[in-house]
Subunit: 442 residues, 2 copies
């Protein structure tokens, strides 16, 4: 009606003002006019909730700071709530309150989404408002929107993500410099890329939350992080990173979701990635998500997976999207999700790298190979590394069930000639996961 009137403003509340919150406020306040011109929507910052509103924050107008997040969310003048507190509580209660009062929510909170995403999406759908979370996986990288919208019609086969920058930095350093895990972790900590207590990163908890979110979107089902089997990088021996490199592979911590028959397998584990694979070129603290679909073929989305400004960039894209939807009356698509039919970890098959430390004497290979045969694990190649007390047999297998590989290892350890089974690492291959069952081959 009001043809040339300026567009109505959408009033935004920001909960939490750490790195990401501060970078976001800077983009909203510092760049307001240019931002409105670029985006076509006018955003107004209505308030910033922090634990200590008395402490000044650079770039944040002091009058907008409040210690009462609950009241800010309830303020009828607020249209859209950005949750950047992280963790489960009070984030969950505040997000629920916002959605239930008909406000759109943008969040970067992977833990919250991986634990309660389905329920929150349900609240949003009931109210017909947006719940957007591009920043929860892969920081600035457009991953969530492509999966939800661009690939809405795609039959996705497999998603593999390097979604944790800390572990990718550590593994890159181990490969480049030949150092061990402890030394690489110390360097990451020195550079501020790893926390003092690195458990959430190095044990794969962070990646598991992201795997659950990616799996849910790619396969239109509900997956929670507690359902994701997890193997971190603390047990990856430097010697196996070096062997992998000699064989033409690089070790990466992957969050994987793949169709297995009518089911879905989701996991986090370190894996050997062939050097020619696009994921192999994702180095240092960069992230990437590699998607394989029936029609789209292979896609990769690459960029900065963390950091205040990159993450704020993704949050801002979501804010503009939700604001646009609020002004035009639409909402982002939220297709119905089925219950996930998760395939048990032991039934998932993969090619494997196994590093078996053995006594260097005749007949050992035959004994070891016989054990592989017992369990239907087919050997693709074998190479002896080192001699005498240092001797190890490095096996690459064809695709085999995880359960069969575990049984193989258990029986190998009963052989007197086998001293230790070191690195047991899955391998990324082109063999179609759906087409191959357990075992097979020679």
């Amino acid at each position: 009606m009001a043809g040339s009137a300026p567009p109505a403003a959408v009033r935004v509340a920001v909960l939490g003002c750490g790195n990401v919150g501060q970078a976001l406020v800077e983009l909203l306040v510092g760049d307001g006019a240019a931002l409105a011109a670029r985006s076509g929507v006018r955003l107004e910052l209505g308030g910033v909730a922090v634990a200590d509103p008395g402490r000044a924050r650079a770039g944040v107008p002091p009058g907008l700071l409040t210690g009462d997040a609950k009241a800010l969310v309830a303020d009828p003048g607020i249209d859209l709530v950005v949750e950047l507190i992280g963790g489960l509580e009070p984030a969950r209660t505040l997000v629920e309150a916002a959605l239930e009062s008909g406000k759109a929510v943008v969040t970067a909170n992977k833990a919250l989404l991986a634990a309660h995403g389905a329920q929150l999406a349900g609240f949003a759908a009931e109210q017909g408002v947006d719940l957007l979370y591009e920043a929860a996986v892969g920081g600035a990288i457009p991953v969530i929107r492509p999966l939800r919208e661009s690939l809405a019609g795609e039959r996705v086969r497999r998603v593999m993500g390097i979604v944790n920058g800390t572990t990718n930095f550590i593994l890159t350093l181990m490969a480049d410099e030949g150092v061990g895990y402890e030394a690489a972790l110390a360097e990451a900590q020195r550079l501020g890329l790893a926390e003092r207590d690195p458990t959430a990163d190095v044990e794969g908890h962070d990646a598991a939350a992201k795997a659950a979110i990616l799996a849910g979107l790619a396969f239109r089902c509900d997956v929670v992080d507690a359902d994701v089997p997890r193997q971190g990088i603390t047990g990856v021996p430097a010697v196996d990173v070096a062997f992998a490199s000699r064989l033409g592979y690089v070790v990466k911590l992957l969050a994987v979701a793949e169709a297995v028959g009518e089911g879905l397998a989701v996991s986090v584990h370190p894996a050997l990635v062939p050097l020619g694979h696009p994921l192999a070129s994702v180095r240092g603290s960069f992230n990437a998500v590699f998607i394989e679909g029936d029609a789209c073929g292979e896609l990769m989305l690459y960029g900065r997976g963390a950091g205040g400004r990159p993450t704020a960039s993704a949050v801002l894209g979501d804010i503009i999207d939700a604001a646009h939807n609020r002004l035009t009356g639409g909402a982002a698509p939220a297709p119905a999700r089925a219950r996930a039919r998760l395939v048990p970890a032991e039934d998932v098959s993969s090619a494997y790298y196994l590093d078996v430390e053995v006594a260097d004497r005749p007949g050992v290979l035959a004994a070891v190979a016989t054990v592989f045969g017992h369990h239907g694990v087919s050997i693709r190649s074998m190479e002896q590394q080192g001699m005498g007390d240092e001797a190890r047999l490095v096996f690459l297998t064809h695709r085999a069930r995880h359960g069969d590989v575990q049984a193989t290892i258990a029986e190998l350890l009963e052989l007197s000639a086998v001293r230790h089974v070191g690195g047991v690492l899955r391998m990324v291959t082109d063999e179609d996961p759906a087409a191959l069952g357990a075992g097979g081959g020679a």
Copy 2:
């Protein structure tokens, strides 16, 4: 109101039934029920317009074929028109008719968008309907939606795309096998990756259309393909591809749009990309778009840039998006666009690779270096390749104005010691284009 009624169907007309059209119909018809479950919208194929409706098409219900595209577009039973005819006419007339009758349009037609995109976007905005074109750049790769939505608030600095699979295949082959352009082209033709008349690909016309589309989206302005300076790959000597490789670079045909001061520079040209750069790992017929923004940092979107099924995948994503918007009453954001302030090609600066064939005698380097100095082109490194009659000086320059480099070459050719200036190729560097003017340095 009708709580549990099945969702209304959106009726889709497809214009054109080549590779992409046929793959799309297969996805729509063959996979309908699963598609509705995955996407949350029900799509019905209302008709397929082709030049020869008498000829059967595998997978296309014969009753749906029609020779009258105009009547199909005008059919009030059709909600959404998919234009896959390509070229300017009759595609333009049909798309206009569809938009003006309030139908959403999905198209993969880069030529149409690069020539008349602003006008068509205007029609769509007037009617409040969607005009979506994810498949027009980068095939299956989500590029358009990330630029339009995810990066809606981002201050983009530079976009560089490998957006033509044919030329990337040819350049990859030249680098890997050391063959010349003609032999690599012949191989691409043999494999069906290049047309019999390869002009549109190898002279950069296809990439220029995509550059115009990317520039318009990334910088919120109107750019037409006729405004894009274009240099193809026919003049790239095999010897320079080999030298580049030895220096740690790979030659790629890039579509570039970058902020230069308050203006915008758009062009298509072959360039030296450092081997460590993510674009360097884009091989064969794959495509990728690399985006640098103020807040997001570096992003890359990678995948299949052509082919029936990958392109149909992107078209299908757009159809679902437009159908969702139709059912909920929204429309994709279409922010106002400014007139582009294009910087003339000669005022754009870049680092350069120059291959100067010279007489191999004392004093030549001094004479040549003096000419560079005359024009304020600063030399970063020089290496002599070959001896005697084969002698050439390979220069890498600091960032310099294109006009100054051209003037340097003109004066070099006046020197008696200079026989020929071979490869003149821009280089991708990290030097901030906005921060550096012409010349500078030693």
